[in-house]
Structures are given as structure tokens and as C-alpha cells.
Amino acid sequence: MLKITATLKTAFRALRRNPLRSALTTLGIIIGIASVIAMVQIGEGSSAAIKQTFTSMGANTLIVFPGAAASGGVSFGGGSAVTLTAEDAAAIARDCPTVAAAAPMVHARLQLVRGNQNWVPQFIYGTTPAFLKIRDWPVVEGRPITNADVLGANEVCLLGQTDVRELFPSGKAVGKTILVQNVPLRVVGVLARKGANMMGMDQDDVIVLPWTTLKYRVSGSALENQNQNTAAASSSTTSTDQLYPETAQSLYPTASASEQLDTPQPVSFPNVNGIFVAVPTLAQIPQATQEITTLLRQRHHLQPGQPSDFNIRNLAEISQALGKTSTMMTNLLTGVALISLLVGGVGIMNIMLVSVTERTREIGLRMAVGAKARDILSQFVLEAMVLCLCGGLLGIIAGEGLSSLIKHMLHWPIAVSVPAIIASVAVAAGVGLIFGWYPAWKASRLDPIEALRYE
């Protein structure tokens, strides 16, 4: 132990004798370690940033669609069955442990009217407040829709940026009223901008309202628009029927006009067009899929062997590509950083060789006064390792500085990576050992007589 501390002291003293050279030699290691640290942390940060972006695009959402309905051998395609209900969504959120949130979704394609402006949005979502959480979609102005809005089928809605632009040239939408199918909806909030989705569709061209409002107040027949089965059965449905309910051929006993206006439209199936499910991490998607399948089969009373009456879709392809890309990037950058570390190591070896030549007399003297080959070897290896470790420590500080600089400039979520720091210290010591070994070995093989006579 004493010997090691003595050798360490000797190493430090030798390095202090030539501070500038030691500093310059270490620079290679400093840069190498700093870039490894920065690259790993920036890589992790950027992959977290990309993941966050993809999350807001819905990479970690599952969508449960109803299965296909068929009539007389004619299939109506996926989503045509009327099997999913809002209660299914609530049950998924409640009973599946890996599910963070679930929201039912009712589709429609309707015209929005505001004064002399009108617009048909790309997406009309009848849903619950959980939808905003699932899609990671903040409300930038006003308030989000609430569970009370859903329970009361309140005539409120949230508008996307595109719709605000189209309907409100003034830009002020909150508190104003728009007409949808002659139903007045109060705009309570405006959604944050999201841009195009992966298919190039404008995600901001959207209106979000309670699903109960959409289903029971606005589009009592939205179901029929979506479901060819029912649409085929009641081919008389036209837009004029909806505008003038008196003339519509109703499937049900006709209520009085005032009754029809005052009460929600009676719809036989309280079904929804789909259920959005959020899963905390991409890795949990398979498990969540499993849980939802089990739960829904149970809720829908399906016998073993009977096909499921629903489909669960996810954006697995995208999330896989995403994972691969970020791993590849991190590996690539770390590889480049490791190469610079290698170059730094060669620099250390070079200087250590010079140092051994320069200090031949010193080595001879040390051997004359009783240093064994082993002592000389450990002295020079330790010197190289001390150089590398000092470089490693400075490199860690520099790397942390660099990554926090990037954090402040690019606002990437960069966290201090403890494994990277530990690995850097180990790599620095390893570089010192590997690249310091050869010069030290050369030094230890010197003949003391010749070394003493060396000029």
C-alpha cells in the first residue's frame, strides 16, 4: 500500500515537472471523454425529445376499433360493428393496470358555421377529457372540456388552430358560439398547434366535444353515416332530413317537434367508433394489448375460440423505427467519440515514449539505487493512468458543461448519465493502462548501466 502511494506521489511529481506537456497530452483524453459524455447524454436527451414528439403524435397510443359487421355474407369492413361502448373505455381505464388513460371516440363529418363563415373540419372527435391527456394535447386558451360536460352532454367544444383561423378571422374564439347541424356550441377552449400527422393530415383541423353531445345532440344519425349497415337500411337519410326533422322517415315512433328539440335524440346503440388508449411506455404496448383483449372479450361475452369483435391497432412500426434510429444515432456518436479517445490514447503513448527516452538517466539511476523492473513498470503505467484519469475527470466536467450548454440552447431534456460517467472513468483508466503499458515496459527493460551512461 505504502509502495503504491509512494509510486503515485512519484508519478504526480514527474507530471508536475512538465505541467504544460502533461496538460497538452491530457487534452486528447479530455476531449475524448468530454465528447463521450456529451454524446451519450445528448443522445439520450435527443432520443427522449424525439420520443416525446412521437408520443404527442400518438406513438404510444393504442386504438381499439370495432370489428366488421356482416349481413348475408356481405362484410361492411373494419369498424362497422356496433360493439364498443363508452363503458368499455371506462372499464379499460379502470381495470387494465398498464393503461394510463382511455377515452371513447365518436366520429362525424359535419359543417361548422359561424356568422358568414363555414368550414368542414377534417377531424371531429366526440370524446372525454382523457382524450387530451392521451394525445398530449394542451389547451392554450380557455379551458378543456370536463367530465361534467360529458355527463350533461353540454353544448361546448374545443377548436383546433386551423378551425379558429377559418371561422374566426379576428382570432378570438373562446366564449363565442358556432353552429353545428343547427346546434349551437360554445367554444370553451383552443387547442395547441400540432401540425401535420404522419400521414400528412392537418391535425389542427379539429373540433373536440363531449361524445355525448356529438352523439345525442349534434349528430343523432352520425352512426348511420359511419355504419353502412344501418345506412343501407335507411337509405332515405339526407341532409334535408336532418335539417327538417318533421319530414324524416323515422325508425321510431314520432315524437312531437318540441319533444325532439328538447330531448337528446334517441339512438338505439350507445356505441362509440373507437377507443383511444394511452400506454405509459412503448415497451408496455404488447402487455396493454393483451390486457385490453382479455377485458373486452370478457365484457363482450365472447366464448373461447370465437373471434374478437374488435381490433387493437398501434403505431408499432413507427415506434420500432424510432427506437432503432435513436439507438443507432447514440451508438454512432459514441463510436466517433471513442475514436477520439483512441487518438488521445495514442497521444499519451507517444508522450510517454518521449518521456521514457528523455528520462533514461533517471530510470538508470532508479535502477541503480534498487528499483526493480516491476517498480519502473508500475511507475510509468501509473503516470500514464494518472494523466488519463485527470483527463477523464476534466473531460467529465467539460462534457457535463457541454451537455448543459446544449440543454440551455436547444431545450433538450438532458440528464446527467451516471453510467456514462462511471464508464468514462473506467475507459480513461483503461486507456492509460493500455497505452501506458508499452512505454513503461520499454522503460523497465532498460539496462541500468547503459541507461546511466545515456546522454
Binding site: 509502495k3 539505487v369 528499483a371
Partner: protein, 238 residues
């Protein structure tokens, strides 16, 4: 009691095609407590002999007993231990570590002590020897801040710090002016008489040899005349 006893030492170097014999059967004895000068012209083999006596080198043939131990078959590591504990070296060019204080220079051999020596004990010893060579006030000076004579005295303290049985001085005054040479040589004599340390001065300078009790001449790899310069020692020629 003989500290050094060699019998028919040969040293042959392989050069190019042929062999070059530098030592051709050197036999000598040096008693404990002697101050001996080893004299010879350059090329006579005196440096080679000194290297063998100092356990830095091995003879090609012949036997060498140091302190009752046969040396010529020892491994390099065993010789390193021996050098560390029993032999001190003083060189012509001092060989002090640059930018290192006198004290640290003196401490150098203690780093390699086999059973380990506490830092405190080593320091105490080094300070003691620096005091004995008269450099107590300058122990924190670096070699560049010391005169040649002072540097050589630091080197002497370094040679003595592990309390060796033998001090080998290779042209110890070669780089010093006559006045400081005298000082250093007197110091050798003093250490020899007061501490009883066996000294071998390797030199080609008759003035240096005059300070020894006995002069061993070496010529062409063989021992020449042995002159008893001082009171001790009879003819040691074998």
C-alpha cells in the same frame, strides 16, 4: 573480514563478429572499512569492474562474493534488492533528479526498500544524512539552485540513506573544481573513518587516488600494482 572478494572475474562483450574481453581474470579483495581507489586509464576496464562490483552487471566467468554472498548468479531483481540495501552509488555527473528538492532526491532509494519503510522514518534518516553532509539548510533547494559541490554532497547523502555496506564513487570529482574536489574527498575520508563505511573510488586522477588508503591499478583488464597509500592493508594481489 573481507567485504569484497573476487576470483578470476572475466567479462567478455560480443561485438560484431568477435569477442572483446574487457576483464581478463580479476581477483581482488577489499576489507570492510577500507577506502580504496580503483585507478586505470580509460579503456582499462575499470568501469566494467565497478559495474560488476556494484552488482549492476554480471561477470561472464569467475566468482564474486559480496558480504559473504555469491553475487554472480543472482537474478536482476535479487541484485536490485542488494543494491538498494547494501550499496550506494556516487556518480561523476551527480545524477540528481531535476526540479526535485534535495530532500526528495535523498529519499529516492528509500522508495525501493524491500520491507517498506515508514515515510516518517525515511524522512528522518534523509534529514540526518543531509545534516551530516552539511546541507541541512538547503534540503528544500532544487539541484539547479545548488553548486556542484553541494549537488555532489546531496548525491553522497542519497548513496548513504539506506546505510549501505559499500559506497562506490565513479569519478566523484570529475565535474568539480580542485577546491570543491578536496572538500568532497575529505568528506569521503571522514565518512570512512567516522562511520566505518567501505569506500571504493573509481578514478583516473592520481590526486583523488592519493586520498585512498590503498590504490588498485587496473590495466588492460588485469590488476596491476597495488600500492598501500595509507596505514591499512597489505598487498591484496591474488
Amino acid at each position: 573480514m573481507d567485504l569484497i572478494k573476487t576470483d578470476g572475474l572475466f567479462k567478455t562483450y560480443r561485438l560484431g563478429g568477435g569477442d572483446l574481453a574487457v576483464l581478463k581474470g580479476v581477483s581482488l579483495t577489499i576489507a570492510t572499512g577500507e577506502l580504496v581507489a580503483l585507478m586505470g586509464a580509460s579503456g582499462s576496464g575499470k568501469t566494467t569492474l565497478m559495474n560488476i562490483l556494484g552488482c549492476l552487471d554480471r561477470p561472464t566467468a569467475g566468482s564474486y562474493f559480496f558480504d559473504g554472498q555469491e553475487i554472480s548468479r543472482l537474478s536482476p531483481n535479487q541484485r536490485a534488492v542488494l543494491r538498494n540495501s547494501k550499496i550506494g552509488f556516487v556518480f561523476q555527473n551527480f545524477n540528481l533528479l531535476p526540479r526535485t528538492s534535495a530532500l526528495e532526491n535523498v529519499l529516492l532509494p528509500t522508495n525501493y526498500v524491500e520491507d517498506g519503510l515508514s515515510a516518517k522514518a525515511a524522512r528522518q534518516r534523509a534529514v540526518q544524512w543531509l545534516e551530516r553532509v552539511g546541507l541541512a539548510e538547503r534540503m528544500h533547494h532544487e539541484p539547479a539552485q545548488l553548486s556542484g559541490g553541494q549537488q555532489q554532497r546531496v548525491a553522497i547523502a542519497r548513496a548513504l540513506v539506506n546505510n549501505p555496506r559499500l559506497v562506490l564513487a565513479d569519478e566523484p570529482t570529475g565535474n568539480l573544481d580542485s577546491h570543491t574536489s578536496e572538500e568532497v574527498l575529505q568528506m569521503f575520508q571522514q565518512l570512512n573513518t567516522r562511520q566505518g563505511i567501505t569506500m571504493v573510488l573509481v578514478t583516473h586522477d592520481a590526486n583523488v587516488a592519493a586520498h585512498a588508503q590503498r590504490v588498485i591499478h587496473i590495466k588492460d583488464g588485469l590488476i596491476g600494482d597495488v600500492l598501500a597509500a595509507g596505514p591499512a592493508g597489505g598487498p591484496q594481489h591474488a
